[in-house]
Amino acid sequence: MSRVHVSAVVNGEPVEFLCDPTQTLLDVLRDQLGLTGSKEGCGSGDCGACSVTIDGRLACACLALGAEMEGCSIGTIEGLAQGDQLHPLQKKFVEAAALQCGVCTPGFLVASKALLDRNPDPTETEIRYWLAGNLCRCTGYDKIVRAVMEVAAEMKETAR
């Protein structure tokens, strides 16, 4: 099989990998780069469990090919914490119990961070629409939405 050689940046670190032409970015992340934080829920872009950023834009890793990533900068859940220091969203999700089984959590965190990076002061409606592509079968969403709202409010306080 002729494999494609790709040079990209993942969570700020340069990486190189070889992938099959039809292998998804999600499979590359999980199976070749050992980054298993991104989950496969549906594999068809409906659930958001594999949310990553590609060149700063939120995307489903299951709907992109590894081969497409040449020269791209990819952000995954593994890039949220700084060493042992959890990202404020991660801390808040833990404190507020904004998760139960946890399979959807990496996707929610990556998507929520992408929202706050763009819009640090979103309304509840904006948060709910932004996260409409992330499915959670446990929480009923409310604790997740509240957690994101609280982090946004705290970030606003800190910025003052």
Binding site: T22, G43, G48, L58, L63, A132, G133, N134
Partner: protein, 288 residues
């Protein structure tokens, strides 16, 4: 087993060459949000994947001749962030921004939405109403195609073998013009249109002087409903004119019965949406 190849050409000529070399087995990859799903489902096994996202003309939005030329592979999020485009064509932008989740928006393109040729494609009725002209390039060179001529049936386009949809041109806007897109779905977000309707019109004072209506999800292809546009043009968008446009839309419907809507329901809703979309477009035009 057949081996799929992947290539990301930097020029259109190269892309057309790759498509020709694959002899019909190639598929264009723009955002991939339809292609990868079809490949995973096993309904498609392309011999060659031609990624067009390294071709500048297909990935940029340029202001041209008073209008805009949107590269067919520009993602929906980027289209939504383009201030000038949003001001000139709010209906087109809102239609494209209704396709899928934020994750999908970050990859999916208007060109891909058109070429996927779903009768319920959200971008299509708004682009039909806007009078968008498509630039298509293939082995025989370049040609232009009005967007309403693109679809041949569910999942089928009028593109010939090896042709690539390059860009979508939106014409210059006369003063006091506006557009709007409405779709009916049973939920608030992330669903497939039961009916979609785009209206673009120009006003002079209280009078509508020109109008185009695009209708989706009520026939095998998205349609330009000329009779509906004609009913609005020349009127003050009073109830009689709106009802005439609604009747024209209902008459154009040839929908299917399915779990999302019956024939009777889709037909009725087509009339409701055209009235509402026309009034929103008129308000945006500042003339009503």
């Amino acid at each position: 087993m057949q081996q799929t190849t992947y290539a990301a050409p930097r020029s259109l000529d190269e892309a057309v060459g790759l498509m020709a070399a694959a002899g019909g087995a190639a598929r264009i990859l723009a955002g991939g949000t339809d292609l990868l799903v079809q490949m995973r489902a096993g309904s498609l096994a392309p011999g060659a994947i031609v990624d067009v996202k390294k071709i500048a003309e297909m990935t940029t939005i340029v202001e041209e001749a008073g209008g805009f030329r949107i590269g067919a592979a520009v993602n929906a999020a980027e289209i939504g962030e383009h201030d000038a485009l949003r001001r000139a064509w709010p209906g087109v932008v809102e239609a494209i921004n209704l396709i899928g989740s934020k994750q999908v928006q970050g990859r999916a393109s208007a060109g891909g939405n058109l070429c996927n040729a779903s009768p319920a494609a959200d971008s299509a009725p708004a682009l039909v109403a806007a009078g968008a002209i498509l630039a298509v390039q293939g082995p025989k060179g370049r040609r232009q195609l009005p967007v309403e001529k693109l679809h041949a049936g569910p999942g089928r386009t009028m593109l010939e073998r090896g042709e690539i949809l390059v860009s979508i041109a939106l014409p210059a806007r006369p003063a006091h013009s506006g557009d709007a897109y409405l779709r009916l779905i049973p939920r608030t977000e992330m669903d497939i249109a039961v009916v979609g309707c785009g209206v673009s019109l120009a006003m002079e004072g209280d009078t509508c002087v020109a109008a185009r209506v695009g209708l989706g999800a009520v026939a095998p292809t998205v349609m330009l409903v000329e009779a509906a546009g004609a009913a609005l043009a020349g009127s003050r968008l009073d109830e009689a004119a709106l009802e005439k446009a609604a009747a024209a839309c209902r008459a154009a419907c040839r929908p299917i019965d399915d779990k999302r809507g019956t024939i009777a329901y889709r037909t009725k809703i087509a009339g409701v949406l055209v009235k509402r979309a026309a009034l929103i477009a008129a308000r945006r035009a500042g003339g009503h």
